[in-house]
Subunit: 492 residues, 2 copies
């Protein structure tokens, strides 16, 4: 075997745009995903874990007239056959491939959920990573909007299950078909002007009604001072679009009435309104009223992509933004009906509807709400006072673990006791257990409440702390009892 | 925007060597990993999820005198800076990178566990995939063999927790230092002959004592009929190696005595024996006797790689191999001490010890033992008899779910009832619920026990089945009660 070339020491760094997750970051996400999976499973959805690697053809990531895949994916060429492989950039493209590949063995409709990392070959930025989690649920092969209603109900249940209280979220539902009807009554055929109108609608979130009105018309002075050219519609022509975007009323029947007016005689438009009505009725009958799932034509995200109902879950509680201003937390999940999912592979249109939860955003929301984080999670640390009595100390942690208490013995160099206490601190240990030779002889142990100890250290002048000792001597056989007592006090 | 080039339909296939996992395959693995994580966590180990993508330098995957990474990894070059990135091929190399990168913020010793997919750019074969799961626990920065003993105890606890009964597994422990002592007394310096002896020892599993004796000497006729040249040692020279490999006795003290004889005066050898004795004593004191963790110098796997204690967990129950012969299930986990883990990055040797569980093999063992699989997992299927009463049917599944019962409504075209029953069958549904117009009027529903129904269909001639109806008419308000009753019967 050839010897390895002498090389400079490698840098210990993640590639740019990638990061590591430690301890609670990992377990909190895992627990949230498990809770979500339980809801999905209860709804009859089946887990699917597709491979992280796909052919670029399956992902649909070949650009025209170029000989390598889209920059948006991480791709490489196989040595043996020159095939291009790539890391999946979402969980939807693999679902399409899996369904097309296994459709004869899968039930129809096929309800599936998937959760896992996806990769984007994009310029990383603050808080923008090139590997992140997605968590999707989709129903393939069900043309009925009952499938869309089910997804909306499941989304509401999921948010409540992970810890978002009713009233703190709303699932909004719109329908691309209604928009198509609006475009039809406006006389906009497929083409450049229609695309321009769609792009303008997409800005409704940012620029609001008056902004969209200007952009559909002559144009608009941007906040930056730049003048943005308008689409050039007359006020009259732009009317149906604005009527559509602003048709939401406090009353669902009224919203639907407004939409009917906006789509006029358009068959596709009326079909869209009918679908929204069916969804609202199905959900109402199951107790998902407009306080949880609401018909809201101002939902524009995804309208350009989806072909039927579109949904978005927003968290409605306030947080402070980076400038200290109050704003709503915002979107944590979105989805809709996309009936061309499998067509690329089979030539056959297969109806499909689904939702994707923004895992990191939902985790951030749960932290914001105090639903996760902040709990005492470190192990009880048993210190080593006598290197030759390691078996005794390992016996103690064994006892603690059998009682279900997270515990570890200090495994570094035990010479310096201060280092052991520093270690316990870094581990977030709630309790340290100490048994020196003297204690061993007397059949006792020292139990140190590190949380209380830290509190006392911080406010040592207060009378009340003086009466509360943070270190206790107890008989050896009361180890479990006393540790449990302190952990309960700390948790309370 | 340019139009997409007209291309032939992509094939709906995973790349060669990759596969998808469906339903129970995903959830059973997830549950096993969760159970393992709970044990690791109880032992004070912290979760770590490193990025799937690393620089090839960090992975140490540049071969000498070539300008691209080792074929063993999936690698690609970044567009902007020509850096090579690659998918991790195990969880150990990333641990080394993470520890080197974050060592000032991590506790020392650092106990961490990691579970997730790894990727190998190797020729796929039957049952050999290019993406698979690993599940590792390591302690970095603890020189004491108490850390090794802890890993062995944790491994035993882990196997029992996931469902391998005591008596069905054994954790075997060996030590590279003892082997080094043996090589020392043989007078074998580092060099070609020593490497040849190490390679020969590695075959002990396959060729046994007599085979190793021949291979250390003149050579050996292979089963294929080929003659394998030997290392060329005399019988006397080969003696210590064979004494080492066969030194296991039913009694640990005797095993250790045999090893002491084998290493003679070698300082490193005696240190190794002493370490094994310490490990055995520590484990014994905690109740991990030689029926669970045993000193066994015949463990050769990893001896070439590790620098201190080496462990391997084997399952000792019999299974039938592909030819119908009984054989032991074999290894499901292995590990050891490797003190040069971080040195590549920092120049500093950092002691580290750990274990890796073969996720797929352990899953296969649990299936073999009937610990997972075989349970009724499909949802209750509510059929659609009247398309206009979807709200009623969704109300039923809502009720069932609120009672914690997995349930779904049929979302395909409801016209053909036979299709609905075929769907229920494919879903593995234990029960179908039917409410036609007639039932609705009379305030009843039909509940069909599909498991019992299938049994009756299979053995229709038996008298006993005739008396057991598989379909029941019950009042609508007894839906939950009756479904629960049937599910309990089916589970029993």
């Amino acid at each position: 075997m050839a010897k390895e070339k002498k090389q400079p020491r490698p840098k210990a760094e993640t590639p740019k745009g990638f990061r590591d997750y430690f301890g609670a970051e990992v377990t909190e996400r895992a627990e949230m995903l498990q809770a979500i999976a339980r809801v999905y499973h209860l709804y009859g959805f089946e887990a699917l874990e597709s491979s992280a690697v796909e052919t670029v053809e399956a992902l649909g990531k070949f650009l025209p007239d170029v000989d390598r895949p889209n920059d948006g994916v991480f791709a490489w060429q196989e040595d043996e056959n020159d095939d291009w492989l790539a890391l999946r950039y979402d969980l939807t493209a693999p679902l399409a491939r899996v369904y097309a590949q296994h459709r004869n063995d899968l039930p129809t409709p096929y309800r599936r959920y998937a959760m896992g990392p996806v990769w984007r070959n994009e310029k990383p930025g603050p808080g923008r990573f090139r590997q992140f989690y997605q968590c999707d649920a989709d129903t393939v092969g069900a043309p009925s909007v009952a499938a869309d209603a089910e997804i909306c109900a499941m989304l509401a249940d999921t948010l409540e299950t992970v810890g978002i209280a009713r009233g703190d979220y709303i699932v909004r539902v719109n329908n691309r078909k209604v928009l198509n009807g609006v475009l039809e009554v406006m006389g906009l055929e497929e083409g450049e002007q229609r695309d321009a109108v769609l792009r303008t609608i997409d800005k409704f979130d940012k620029v609001g009604e008056s902004g969209v009105r200007e952009l559909l018309g002559k144009g608009r002075l941007d906040v930056s001072g730049a003048y943005i050219d308008g689409v050039g519609l007359s006020d009259e022509q732009a009317g149906p679009v604005l009527a559509f975007l602003t048709s939401k009323s406090a009353d669902t029947a009224e919203t639907l009435g407004n939409l009917r007016t906006a789509v006029g005689e358009s068959v596709i438009g009326l079909e869209g309104v009918q679908e929204l009505e069916t969804i609202a009725n199905l959900l109402d009958a199951q107790g998902y009223g407009p306080d949880r799932v609401v018909i809201d034509p101002s939902v524009v995200r995804g309208l350009g992509y989806y072909t039927g109902p579109v949904f978005e879950a927003e968290l409605t509680f306030d947080i402070l933004d980076e400038k200290g201003r109050k704003r709503q937390f915002g979107s944590v999940a979105g989805g809709g009906r996309y009936d061309d999912l499998v067509k690329r592979f089979t030539g056959q249109a297969v109806p499909a509807t689904g939702v994707s939860i923004g895992v990191d955003r939902l985790l951030a929301a749960l932290r914001e709400k105090g639903r996760i984080g902040g709990s005492i999670n470190g192990p009880v640390v048993v210190t080593v006072m006598d290197r030759d009595r390691m078996a005794d100390y390992q016996g103690m942690v064994g006892e603690l673990r059998r009682a279900g208490i997270r515990a570890e013995v200090y495994l570094g160099n035990p010479k310096n006791f201060g280092n052991q206490m520093k270690y316990a601190d870094r581990r977030g240990a709630p309790i340290a257990v100490i048994e020196g030779g003297d204690e061993k002889e007397r059949g006792v142990i020292q139990i140190k409440d590190l949380i209380l100890g830290a509190q006392i250290a911080q406010s040592a002048t207060l009378e009340e702390w003086k009466e509360r000792p943070s270190q206790f001597e107890v008989p050896r056989d009361q180890l479990i009892e006393k540790v449990r007592e302190i952990l309960e006090e700390q948790g309370g």
